[in-house]
Amino acid sequence: MDNSIRDLRAERGWTQAALADLLQVSRQTVNALETGRYDPSLPLAFRLARLFERPIEEIFAHDESLDPTSTR
């Protein structure tokens, strides 16, 4: 799943460590989220949405070409 966490973080001038502290996760987790190696749980996605004051679907974009149930 694509996401704009890195851009949103950079807009605010936060380091990964600062964002990790705000989300109460490790810096490694923030890095895994930003590089797309890990998709967050719903509670963490909601925490991100609240923190960045954006709806979840504005932060995360589902790549439909990777969805085996997609009819496209």
């Binding site: 973080r9 950079a10 001038g13 936060w14 380091t15 990964q16 460590a17 600062a18 990790a20 502290d21 109460q24 996760v25 490790s26 810096r27 490694q28 987790t29 890095n31 895994a32 989220l33 190696r37 890990y38 967050p40 749980s41 963490l44």
Partner: protein, 139 residues
Amino acid sequence: MTSDLDTTPSRGDRDRSRAYVRDVVPAMGAHVVVVSAVTLWGHLDGSSPWRFAWALLPVLPAALFVRAVVRFLARSDEYARLVQLTSLAVAFAATMLACVVLGMLAIAGSGLPAVLLPWLAFGAGMLTWGVAAGVVTHR
């Protein structure tokens, strides 16, 4: 803009690392003390029935290590827990495989000293845990 600062651990990371060290260091200290005591006074190669109690004594500090790992997992976030539990599962499979392989080699008369076999399985499990954690983190 922020990339040059991105490798520093967060305050939470440092707190978690310190808490893990606080759990592990007493376990290591207890392990050294108990193993030294067993080596000095246990006489495991003797004939006293107490030698079995001495032989089982290192289980106590080992339990402290297990407690440290469980508490580390409890303090970890969802991604760190996924990495650790995945690598522990791979290490468990590797340990089981090592036990079967070493057991079959022993039956076939490989000549490996019997006292060495469980330690080889232990080493295989620990090594696989570390390697798997690295692979899962960077894949």
